[in-house]
């Protein structure tokens, strides 16, 4: 049995990164929920956000979390461009076409970033409130990581307000529930698709800037791939298309990853980092066994 202090510490750090995992998956689920398109290039948009945080901090000398704001702006423009250039022609295309198209867009973004920023791994350390750091059960979360979790919650709140408190959000919910019903009440369904896609990309790029809190040396053009994979697991776990489901599943995923790492590390002859990943899939299987549509799926 591991030290109780360590256990509590890993629960706390699991919750902190879980919030980031959650917000990094919400955009994927929003796009799937409204457009029924799986964005296979998801991780590339996260990578873009991480670079934004890096540039904001190292080139502009501003707090890296301002990369969240930059991510929202870049995501909006990029999302609209991709929607009108590619996605809108694929509504009635077979699923394979949308999978390949989003996969290609992901690769394109990776290669463009590599051309501009180079292939090297970058990163930075930022700890603005080091003076106020505190210890819980022997664990000292960095202030960047705490601010990252808070930023995730703020971003989730932003999305909540857009979807539940605005005319656009009402229209998005209407399109999700009945596309033809939305048409007959006079909603321009095409525009709602564009807006939802852009909104999903906005949140995803912004979440990459938040994730930078965990990437002290790990920002490189191909870093997104693992988050595409994690994103799919979390999205299915939470229920495809469900935004609260994605966030809750993200938190659970972070928690499970951290705690299982700690528990596995206590077993002799086991490589915890390798096994942690398979444990996460085990969690997915268990959840799907009990509820095949995911935690909040319909």
């Amino acid at each position: 049995m591991p030290d109780l202090n360590l256990l509590v510490a890993s629960i706390i750090s699991g919750l902190l990164i879980g919030a980031v995992y959650g917000i990094a998956t919400v955009g994927l689920n929003l796009i799937f929920g409204v457009l029924r398109i799986v964005n296979v290039g998801h991780g590339a948009f996260i990578m873009l956000g991480a670079y934004l945080a890096f540039i904001v901090y190292t080139s502009l000398g501003l707090p890296p979390l301002l990369g969240v704001v930059a991510g929202l702006a870049v995501g909006a423009v990029l999302g609209l461009i991709i929607y009108y250039l590619v996605i809108r022609y694929l509504h009635d295309a077979p699923e394979l076409a949308t999978l390949l198209a989003t996969f290609a867009i992901g690769i394109l973004i990776q290669e463009l970033v590599k051309a501009v920023m180079g292939p090297d791994s970058r990163g930075f350390v930022w700890n603005p409130l080091a003076a106020y750091e505190f210890e819980i059960f022997g664990y000292k979360p960095s202030s960047f990581q705490i601010l990252a979790a808070l930023s995730s919650l703020a971003l989730l709140a932003f999305l909540y307000v857009v979807i539940y408190r605005t005319r656009l959000g009402l229209a998005i919910r209407a399109v999700v529930q009945d596309r033809e019903g939305a048409m007959v009440v006079g909603i321009d369904v095409e525009r709602i698709y564009a807006a939802s896609f852009a909104l999903g990309i906005m949140v995803t790029v912004a979440s990459g800037a938040i994730l930078a809190a965990y990437l002290q040396t790990g920002i490189h053009p191909y870093m997104g791939e693992i988050y595409t994979l994690k994103g799919f697991v979390i999205a299915v776990m939470g229920g495809l298309g469900s935004i609260p489901g994605a966030f809750i599943a993200g938190v659970l995923f972070g928690l499970f990853e951290n705690v299982s790492y700690l528990l596995l590390a206590g077993i002799e002859g086991v490589q915890p980092l390798v096994l942690t990943r398979s444990i996460a899939f085990l969690l997915l299987l268990l959840i799907l066994l009990v509820k095949p549509t995911g935690l909040m799926g319909r």
């Binding site: 529930q177 019903g181 006079g186 909603i187």
Partner: protein, 240 residues
């Protein structure tokens, strides 16, 4: 009929993919009247309304609404001009409340005007909806859902209300209520109505003019009372 027409459909052809459903449909809907289109299953009644609304793109022909050619406009542009459709199967938003469904009916006006006046009118027409305003649309009975679908279509303040088989799957008493409501809408709200139905007796009772559609063509038309007198002929066409 001397009343000015709200809608005129000329030689409308339409279909899905490779399959042609309508082969030249002609319709006239005069102001403040109820026009009914009768026809058997698969005759193209729903396709006619969906083409007029722009959900299905017309292949050929012309749709003239209030004197303007609206043939190729998109559904949301047609709603903004005063066309409104109660679709077959209602297509409500099941997870939203009754009131949210109604407010969405006023979507093209939201933000510009306050829809609460229209909301009150709809609640007066269907007091049941007011009682259930906070209930989720998907949890209501079929009759209540049909009222909601009609109420939602009225929220856009249309000049032409189109209904696709509103009596489908409902008990006879509720069908009579709905037909009475349509009469009230014509007489009190001064609305123009284009109704598609399979219920011959009930719909001819309230209609002013009737068309019989068969295999994508109009095969018979006339004032409703005259069509009603030739019920044997109508039944032969409808195959019942």
């Amino acid at each position: 009929m001397t009343a000015p027409e709200v809608l005129r459909v000329e030689d409308l052809e339409s279909g899905y993919g490779e399959m042609q459903v309508l082969w030249g449909v002609n319709l006239r809907v005069p102001e403040r009247s109820i026009v009914v289109v009768l026809g058997p299953n698969g005759a193209g009644k729903t396709t006619t309304l969906r083409s007029i609304m722009g959900i299905v793109r017309p292949w050929k022909g012309k749709i003239v609404f209030k004197g303007q050619d609206v043939t190729m406009l998109k559904p949301h542009e047609k709603v903004a001009r005063g066309l409104s459709l109660v679709p077959e199967g209602r297509h409500l938003f099941p997870e939203l409340t009754v009131e949210e469904n109604l407010l969405l009916g006023a979507y093209t006006r939201l933000g510009k005007e306050n829809p609460s006046d229209t909301l009150e009118l709809v609640y007066n027409l269907f007091p049941r909806l007011k009682e259930r305003r906070q209930q989720k649309a998907g949890t209501m009975s079929g009759g209540e859902q049909q009222m909601l679908a009609i109420g939602r279509a009225l929220m856009s303040k249309p000049s032409l209300l189109m209904l696709d088989e509103p009596s489908q799957g409902l008990a006879p008493k509720i069908v009579r209520d709905i037909m009475e409501t349509l009469e009230r809408l014509r007489d009190e709200w001064r609305l123009t109505i284009l109704l598609v139905e399979q219920n011959i007796a009930q719909s001819l009772k309230i209609a002013d003019y009737a068309y019989i559609l068969e295999q994508g063509r109009i095969v018979l038309e006339g004032p409703a009372e005259e069509v009603a007198k030739r019920e044997d002929l109508v039944r032969a066409y409808l195959g019942i």
